[in-house]
Symmetry: C2
Subunit: 412 residues, 2 copies
């Protein structure tokens, strides 16, 4: 039993996780339970459905929520759970009335950049789901639990790739001989990433209006299959490897195991902040246990190290080769970039605030890649079934509204 | 007949005005027709309905669209018109297919800051209407008329009131010894104003994706009752004076005529860019007749002069007193500020681009106020009926989602 478990009245918090069924939501729930917090989750299971729509599935099989809760309860304590979509304000108001959480973690957004770029329908759906859920959260918190802490997941992708250092949210601007502290200008790279910018702006304004305490997390790309609680409960989190729902490093590991070439998009000089699932859960827990001051809006750049896509591809090849010396070394195949982005650029975001609160990298990149490769190896039979969906098909350039308005297309 | 009327093939453009029934939409349609352009309009008449919902009405009575079109046709030529809501992508694709416009002016958004601050329902409605209509326009233009020019109405309110000069959209940022040209950081003051920031960001990204030619107009607060075409056609545009749909200077003129005190909010040091309706229509016409280069996204700060609310109140008193020396001088009554905003601040936005293209102020502020006062005087009998809705009631601080979720409120 954890320290907070022994003294729950002293430090244990009531935490509501919106999107508890997700890649990060589930391991975060386990971590918070393990540390003696009370956890209630919400999810509409829309990601499970959306992933099936692109004929894919989590590479690592995942339990139903009922089974997840049973496994968590055996080891750490029982989380509450209610199924609904956070775009419904009535249900959200209702659960805040019932639970009166100290902190609310918002992970219940459409989280795929390629999905948002398929066409107008998906772009609009992403705008609506993400913005409406955040507006509902803003108002429900203000009306029901105004002292509560909103922890909102944004993305490092909100900043784009400016040719200057990226501060943590705000910076001093000098212009024409005067100065002011202003939000850092953002330039996102997909409709999905822009919804996160819009959410960040709306949250910053909610704080200005009503003093709502907010942590806005600009998170890097997350990779990995495990946290310590996933290991001890055998309750896996999802692991997506398709071009729509999977992210770079996770996909590369799956390609290596499947004997497919690793496919950086374009030149592969694109550089991003990355962190492991273990570190993501560590950082979010730190943010929850060290809430902002009353009335504070704070921004964390939440990542461990930045790497170019080429560096990650090489790392996967290197770790794979030392782990499986007898197998053929994976090739690296630069494919046409389906995105519109700079393929060589300066990149230097600041990330000191979480380290000041105690964040330390849990495992080296090499160790983490080794763990992912070994976990993926166990399910390599499923990769063969999924490999048709690994290669990029969703093109930023070709994104169109024509299928959304197909009823009028007959004239063309 | 105008110059372009004589040589339509030379310069006359096909212009689609989304929101043609509005305060700016209608006089813009008249101006473009008068200058020999072909105009087609779209409107859902939602502003007419929404204004009635707050028990108000346009102070100056306005014709039905059918009657507007008859009056316009007699003097300038016949505009096309189709009634629909631009949040419906099918109808928008369909009209672009039919009209193939050279320019599309997007004035079809929810345009009231107080309306957006009533509560969660109105905040979400404003987000959705404005963002979805702009996304539909972005995709429809890309798919159907990719060479067309999008002219989008944003607001100077997107910038907020930073303690430094405000450039026209972009500026050079120096940080930690490096520099880049970046979008100017925005900080809007209502959910409505934030939707305009979100739209601007989405448009800037559409330009990055597909090279769509876009003019993003950061417009100041518009005042006035007339343009030259309104005079020659006797087809008035709407003139709102209530706290939700009316804007500062127009409301102040109505208060003076009604014998009510003029009511700056708070200290009245709030400074904003202002321009007359005549100048707004002049500027938009300049933008249409001088489109951006292929692939260009340009930002215009569209205002004539900046004034504090107190300066405007004093001007109205001064002009009123010289116009009506025998009537009682209007009082100035500082009312509690329903908004959350700085009431004393630095303000210096740049606005050179439109002047470089030929924009010149049509009339002095004093002359314009004099015209407004005289026009309002003709309808002073209607002010008495409307004066209950002039004083501020919509409070930024009290904005709530409770009525939107009233179904769950019984427990409270």
């Amino acid at each position: 039993m954890s320290f907070f478990g022994i003294f729950p009245c002293l430090e244990g918090k009531k935490v509501l996780i919106l999107g508890m069924d997700g890649y990060i939501g589930w391991p975060l729930a386990l971590r918070l339970l393990a540390r003696g917090h009370q956890v209630t989750g919400v999810d509409s299971f829309i990601t499970r459905r959306r992933v099936r729509e692109v004929h894919s599935d989590s590479l690592i099989p995942i339990d139903s929520m009922a089974e997840r809760i049973r496994k968590a309860s055996r080891t750490f304590g029982e989380p509450g759970f209610v199924r609904f979509d956070v775009t419904d304000p009535r249900r959200l108001y209702s659960i805040l009335e019932k639970e009166k959480p100290d902190a609310i973690v918002h992970l219940a957004e459409q989280r795929s950049a390629p999905y948002s770029m398929i066409g107008l329908k998906q772009a609009t759906e992403t705008m609506m789901k993400n913005i409406v859920s955040t507006m509902n959260l803003i108002y429900a918190t203000k009306d029901i639990v105004p002292e509560s802490h909103i922890l909102k997941l944004g993305t490092m992708g909100e900043y784009g790739t400016p040719n200057i250092d990226i501060p943590e949210g705000f910076f001093e601007v000098n212009y024409h001989g005067r100065s002011d502290t202003l939000p850092f200008p953002k330039f996102a790279g997909s409709w999905y990433h822009w919804t996160k910018v819009h959410d960040s702006n709306n949250l910053m304004f909610a704080n200005r209006l009503w003093g709502t305490a907010i942590t806005d997390v600009m998170q890097g790309v997350v990779y990995g299959t495990r946290t310590s609680e996933i290991e001890s409960s055998s309750s896996h989190t999802r692991f997506d490897i398709d071009e729509v729902w999977g992210t770079a490093l996770n996909r590369f590991c799956a390609q290596a195991i499947a004997g497919l070439p690793i496919t950086p998009y374009g030149k592969g000089g694109q550089t991003r902040g990355f962190l492991s699932l273990e570190d993501s859960v560590q950082c979010l827990t730190i943010a929850i246990e060290n809430p902002p001051k009353n009335g504070e809006y704070r921004v964390f750049n939440q990542y461990d190290e930045h790497y170019s896509v080429n560096e990650l591809a090489s790392k996967v090849v290197e770790v794979f080769s030392s782990l499986y010396p007898d197998r053929k070394k994976p090739g690296i195949l630069h494919t046409a970039n389906p995105r519109i982005e700079k393929e060589e650029h300066y990149y230097n975001p600041e990330n000191v605030k979480l380290r000041e609160l105690g964040y330390r990298t849990a495992r080296s990149l090499e160790t983490e890649i080794s763990i992912i490769l070994q976990d993926v190896m166990k399910y390599s039979g499923r990769i063969r079934r999924l490999k048709d969906v690994i290669m990029p098909r969703t093109s930023w350039k070709e994104s169109s509204g024509k299928s959304a308005v197909a009823g009028t297309e007959k004239k063309k």
